[in-house]
Symmetry: C2
Subunit: 242 residues, 2 copies
DNA sequence: ACCTGAACACCGTTCAAGT
DNA sequence: ACCTGAACACCGTTCAAGT
C-alpha cells in the first residue's frame, strides 16, 4: 500500500515523482475535449454527450467548455468528423465495377452512422466540414467521375447519395433507440391492414409488400436507384452548366 | 359589469347563463390536446410544443397530458399527421405527365415540412401512420402504378421518395432555424476552397459547383433522379417478388 | 376512478465575479 | 487574461397522494 488516500481523493495514485498518474484532470484543450466526447459517444452514445455530462467527465463545470466549443451542435459535429475516420475508403482505389465500389463506400459511411443512433440525426442537421468528410466527398466524386457522370450532376449527386445514407441511418437507428419505435411500425402496418380497399386500392393491394426487406437490402437498392437515376437525369436548364 | 370577479379569476367573463365563455379551460380530451398542439406549432413552431409548454397552454400540469398522450414523440406525430392534411393531392387525379404530377405532390409534402423546421426532423424519426399519411402513400403509389413502375419497386420506392423530401426539409429547415447554420455552410465552402488540389483533385475541381442551385431546384431534380432510377433498377433477387 | 402536485433527474447557455 | 460558480430558464416523465 504505497499511499494512504484521504477521503477527498480515494482513487488517485501518484507516480514516484508525486505527479498524478490517472489523467483525471488534464489541462482543458479543444482536442482533449473532443477526444473525451468521442470516447463518451462510443461508450454511451451521442445522446449522453451533453455539455453538462462532458464537463462532469472532465471534472469541470459546463461553462468552461464554452471557451473551446461554440455550442452543443459544434461539439457533435466534431465528434462526427472524428468517427467518419472509420469509413473504409479503399474501394475508391481498387479495380472493379465503379457502381459496386461506390455503394461499398456509401454503405461504410452509413454503417458508421448506424452504430451511433443520434449521430445520424445530428449529421442531417449540421453538415460536417472536417477532413474526414472531405475525404469522403473526394472518394465519391472520384468514382462518379470514373463512371462518366457529368460534373454538374456529380456535384449535386454526391449530396443526394450521402443524404440518403444519413437519412436511412437516422430513421433505422431511431427504431433501435426509442422503446416505442416498434409500436409505431406496427401502427403503420395495422393502419395499412385496416385501410379500406375502396379508399386505398393501391395501398391495400401492396399490403405487407411495403414493409418487406432488410434495412441493408433497401439501403443498397436505394443507392443503386440514385446512381442509375443520376446517369439518366440532366440538371434543370435554369442553372448554368459549367 | 355582470359579475365582480375575485382576484383568483380576473379575466373570466360569463355568459348570461353563467357559463364560462372564453374556452380557457375546456375539458381535456386527446382531440383538444392535439388541436392546441397544432395551433401552438403554427404560432411558435414544433420546438415550443413541449409537454410542459402545452400543459401551460391548457391551464393544467404536464402530468395530466400523459393520460391522453403516451409521450412527446407521439404528440409530435399526431401534430404531423394533422398538418399533412394541407398537402395538395389533386395532381393525383388530373391528367398530364405522371412524373410531373408525382413531383408536384412530393413537393407539396416537402413544402408542408419546410414550414415547420422541427417537424421534418420528427417525421424522420417517428414515421406517421395517420389518415393523411395514408392518403399521401396512396396518391404516390397510384402515380407510380400509372407510370408502369413494377409493384415491388413501387413498394420500396414510395419510402425512398418521401424520405428524400423529409430529409431535404429537415436539412434546409435547420439552416433557417439555427443561428450558426450559415457559419457551418461557410465552414464547408471554406474547407473546400482551402483544400489541396493534390489531395482533393475532384473536390477542388468542382469547387463552388457543389453548392450551386436553389433548394427547390435541387429538390425537384432529386425527385426526378429517384423516379428515373426507380424505372431502371430491379430489386435484389434475395427478396421474393410478389 | 380519475387526475395532478410535486419531485426526480436532467438540459443549454450566460455572465458576474473570482483567480 | 483566463476560467468558472451559480443562476436563469427551461426539459420529460413518474408516482404518491389527493378528489
Amino acid at each position: 500500500m504505497p499511499t494512504t488516500p484521504g477521503p477527498a481523493e480515494p482513487i488517485e495514485p501518484t507516480t514516484p515523482r508525486g505527479r498524478r498518474e490517472r489523467p483525471a484532470k488534464p489541462a482543458l484543450t479543444r482536442v482533449g475535449i473532443v477526444a473525451t466526447a468521442v470516447a463518451l459517444t462510443r461508450s454511451e452514445g451521442l445522446e449522453r454527450v451533453t455539455m453538462r455530462r462532458l464537463a462532469k467527465e472532465l471534472d469541470t463545470g459546463p461553462a468552461s467548455l464554452y471557451v473551446y466549443v461554440a455550442n452543443t451542435a459544434a461539439l457533435h459535429a466534431a465528434v462526427l468528423d472524428e468517427l467518419l475516420g472509420e469509413i473504409d475508403l479503399r474501394p475508391a482505389r481498387t479495380g472493379g465495377d465503379w457502381r459496386e465500389r461506390l455503394v461499398r463506400i456509401l454503405s461504410s459511411y452509413t454503417t458508421v452512422l448506424f452504430r451511433n443512433p443520434a449521430l445520424a440525426r445530428s449529421a442531417l442537421v449540421t453538415r460536417p466540414s472536417g477532413p474526414h468528410y472531405l475525404e469522403l466527398l473526394e472518394a465519391v466524386l472520384a468514382l462518379l467521375a470514373e463512371g462518366g457522370v457529368p460534373d454538374d450532376r456529380a456535384a449535386w449527386g454526391v449530396d443526394a447519395l450521402l443524404q440518403f445514407g444519413t437519412a436511412t441511418a437516422a430513421e433505422q437507428s431511431a427504431r433501435d433507440a426509442a422503446p416505442h419505435a416498434q409500436d409505431e411500425h406496427d401502427a403503420l402496418t395495422a393502419a395499412v391492414r385496416n385501410a379500406s380497399p375502396q379508399a386505398f386500392p393501391r395501398l391495400t393491394a401492396l399490403g405487407t409488400e411495403l414493409f418487406t426487406g432488410t434495412g441493408e437490402d433497401r439501403l443498397t437498392w436505394g443507392f443503386h436507384v440514385l446512381i442509375n437515376g443520376l446517369s439518366k437525369t440532366a440538371r434543370p436548364d435554369r442553372t448554368a452548366t459549367t
